[in-house]
Assembly symmetry: C2
Homo-oligomer: 255 residues x 2
Amino acid sequence: MQEILSMKNQKVKDWKKLHKKKTREELGEYIIEGFHLVEEAVKAGATVEYILFTERGKAEWQEWLVEQSEALLVFVSDEVMKSLSDLPTPQGIAAIVRLDEVLLDKEVAGGWLLLDNVQDPGNVGTMIRTADAAGLRGVILGEGTADIYNQKVLRAMQGSNYHIPVIRMKIEEAISFLLEKAFSIYGTELNKEAVRYNELPKSQNYALVLGNEGQGVRKEILSLTDKNAYIPIKGQAESLNVAIAAAVFMYYFES
Amino acid sequence: MQEILSMKNQKVKDWKKLHKKKTREELGEYIIEGFHLVEEAVKAGATVEYILFTERGKAEWQEWLVEQSEALLVFVSDEVMKSLSDLPTPQGIAAIVRLDEVLLDKEVAGGWLLLDNVQDPGNVGTMIRTADAAGLRGVILGEGTADIYNQKVLRAMQGSNYHIPVIRMKIEEAISFLLEKAFSIYGTELNKEAVRYNELPKSQNYALVLGNEGQGVRKEILSLTDKNAYIPIKGQAESLNVAIAAAVFMYYFES
């Protein structure tokens, strides 16, 4: 077991920068906070490089910590933990995890959620969590979509990235890959000339494209789909939150 | 048109305190920020007491502002607006609105969403917005639920409180009121012995009870309902976000 008590430690200096996407890509690692996420990462067999814990974390999760590989454990001071956390009150446990890029492989049968430029981290995280719960096969994060290793995305996902593949790639490429495998591709738009969501044929292999909070799915993408669908707004609200719309679509397909 | 440029103005001192629930109750008013909400409040006939705008707000919404009653308009300095706002960059327009308590009256036919101790303001606001969009009749906020006039709730609601009644009352009282009117009352729980949500009989007049993010709906409440239902979790996620679960339930009933 290592011990890092000083803020001047080079590792601490590096880890602090993991809140920036650029550093995460450069160092090939990201940070997760809180027992639930750390436990999920270990359980799922993610490449955990270090498990950091404070005095408080040790007291609270001692039983779990002793079961972990000695080489991974790093005792840190409260000051070090606080400097790595973006929470007002850090939980006392965190981990540094290798950023293993997931690729779209051959076994893709099932439902896929494709996110085109969805910017709010809370929305992106919630959508991945819902995709996991609803039983989808995986999620594709297109360009402009909040980064999966952003702390707010990680918190809202609650570990679902360790349950289903979450892949960063261009939406256009994902669509052409899935079309070749005879998937049905459905875009979503707020347009009454589109199909009502619950009139879409339920297919085993499908992809749903959800878009930006303000602009929706880009026109270029909507022209690549088999059909585009909408969720009826009966009241006076102008629109649905994008994570809510995604959930209604996903549970329609998976029920 | 009035002009308030000084931070020492008594009105400014009072309005700043409207971010506290206690002051809102005492003064019987609340503050809303941003053009969209102010416009919705005016359109809906809410009792708007003042419309505050800065130089920038004036430039951007001049056409709309000149259509408003002169007596409501208050030009404020950037400094005053900033002190009233909880946003990093205030939009330049806000309003002080009379807090008119809404009561459950006789015309209640339709679907109702009852929130038992839902604490996250973003969840509460999103649920009210979704209830509006899905065509529900109204929403009841039970004890412990985030206050409707909290800024984060107001932002997430996007004005839906001006479209459907949002009523603060005890869940127990709401249920007994609705039971007398022969409503079907459905609780929600993460329990596989409950009914699957899409096996619930669709009725015209119904109430759905959603509960706290961690604990769910209280047992005492679940014992008052006609049936309790759950949404199946197919993947490895432990649960759904409560606003997501509410949306799946509401769109099931309203489709």
